[in-house]
Amino acid sequence: MRGWGFWAASAAVLAAGVGFTELADNPYYFNATYVVLQALIMAVAWNILGGFTGYVNFGSAAFFAVGAYTTIFLHKAFALPLAATILAAALVCGLIGLGVGYLTLRLKGVYFAIATLAMGIVLETLVNNWSFVGGAKGTYMLTPDQHLWFDSYSEMLFMVMLVLALGAIAVSRKLSSSRIGRGLAAIRDDEVAAECSGVPTLRLKLVSTTVMGAMMGVAGAPYPYFVTYVDPISAFNLFIAVNSIAMPMIGGTSHWAGPVIGALLVGSMQEIITVTISSELNVLLVGIMLVLFITLAPQGIVGLVRKHWKKRKA
């Protein structure tokens, strides 16, 4: 997709979002799309480190939860508005991401993945024992009265999430198609060869983990206002981490569009199945789809499309 095409599409999606808030009046629609968009940001963020750079992060839920708890803390301590807590969550989670980036100095492959999983458990334990933000029993967040010019708070949250998602996609696209993107791909393919080709691997990995962390924090920041009750078990839920891995895998990790396609497809199917059949089945669905894609189409949907194009050309 060329530059102007991408921005035109983004503007169209944004306009459609505004139109959606004007036309639809069933609050369920906004809740459902919010969930899909939240998963989309998480998937795009995960893919920056997992897909572009080749480091598998199992601790996505921790970044998400820290983003959510940053909002809770700042709301309780200083009554800051949502915009400020989103920025703060980006900052805090970006810093944690930077720390995780230094782990890559010593840990690669499965060891790195385990370390990120462990980090999630450590952070969850900390929050469990921090009574100011509710501790293990969780905490309530009252929905604020003001919701700008929107009809309801959930409509506003939907628009916030839509803007954040488009921003995340733009960042990810910019990263992947630039010189930095080629550097990250070189790291994924062979770190030693990348370094010997002049790629500052540590610096680029730190950029990658920091951007990933900040993005996941941003995805988690509005969450307390969305659910109005947050406890560590739901915020640090492993399912969030699994979804952030599964969606890029299913969509295709090598291209920025992969996690977007994966998140829209899997996310909306999950919502539909939750409503029509059962909420248990949607967990099963992710598992089955992941197994099918990894065995039959390891390059994801993007890979399938590329293969098809190549065949048609030849």
């Binding site: 010189r179 080629r182 791909a185 393919d189 370094e195 002049g198 790629v199």
Partner: protein, 240 residues
């Protein structure tokens, strides 16, 4: 004569195992140096220390009079040290052309005027005889082409010193000649070359000077003919 590369008193240990000890070596600008030695004698470890993939425990490495002993590999690449790998390490997800864009956009960026990286990469592929493969997946190349890609990628870094680590291993006679011709051409363009090789016929033809390593020490240094005639070298290769 000021040396392009100067290694002095270099030692590298892996735990209790001493891989290299007391290595001192000078390479002059424009020289063609052959580095030989039996398997496990420390050739690759030595060039890992020169290129920065490993840090040495003792001694100094100087490049163009500058101490680079503690410099990370990417900075050495930017100064002009490029290498190929014994086991080819292409960027497998990229096309052959994009493989070359990485060093062009990173290692060579600070030293050369900015030109279109794709055109530049194409030019290098042409000199390597890889132009027809430019858009192919690098993972699917044949053995010869994979070896050529290793050299091409090293070239794309616009090196002053090129270290070729067994660029001819597993190639047939004709293919060896082909790669050798490329190396001669690069040398004529002013690039200093250190060649690690087991194919003696290639080393003898290519090198102006040969250094032989055995069990982590330099046992002989001289012209190719002197080296082959040396008793220590014969013992190291053939056994006493």
């Amino acid at each position: 004569m000021s040396a392009l590369l100067q290694v002095s008193g270099l030692a590298k240990r892996f735990g209790g195992f001493t891989a290299l000890e007391g290595i001192s070596l000078q390479v002059a600008p424009g020289e063609r140096l052959g580095l030989i030695g039996p398997n496990g004698s420390g050739k690759t470890t030595l060039i890992n220390c020169v290129s920065g993939a490993l840090f040495n425990d003792e001694g100094r490495v100087e490049f163009e009079g500058r101490d680079i002993t503690r410099l990370p590999p990417f900075k050495r690449a930017r100064l002009g040290i490029a290498r190929s790998f014994q086991i080819p390490k292409p960027f497998r997800s990229m096309s052959v052309l994009d493989n070359l864009r990485v060093p062009l956009e990173y290692a060579a960026r600070s030293r050369t005027e900015q030109r279109n990286a794709s055109d530049e990469a194409m030019r290098i592929l042409e000199t390597m005889g890889l132009a027809a493969r430019a858009q192919h997946d690098s993972a699917g190349l044949t053995q010869v082409d994979m070896r050529k890609l290793e050299l091409a990628r090293a070239m794309a870094a616009h090196p002053r010193l090129l270290i070729s680590d067994e660029a001819m291993a597993g190639l047939s006679g004709n293919e060896v000649d082909e790669v050798l011709a490329i190396l001669f051409k690069l040398n004529q363009a002013g690039i200093t070359i250190i060649m690690i090789e087991h194919i003696m016929q290639a080393v003898m033809r290519f090198s102006q000077r040969v250094v032989c390593l055995d069990a982590g020490r330099i046992i002989c240094e001289g012209t190719p003919d002197q080296t082959v005639a040396n008793a220590d070298v014969q013992r190291a290769y053939l056994g006493a």
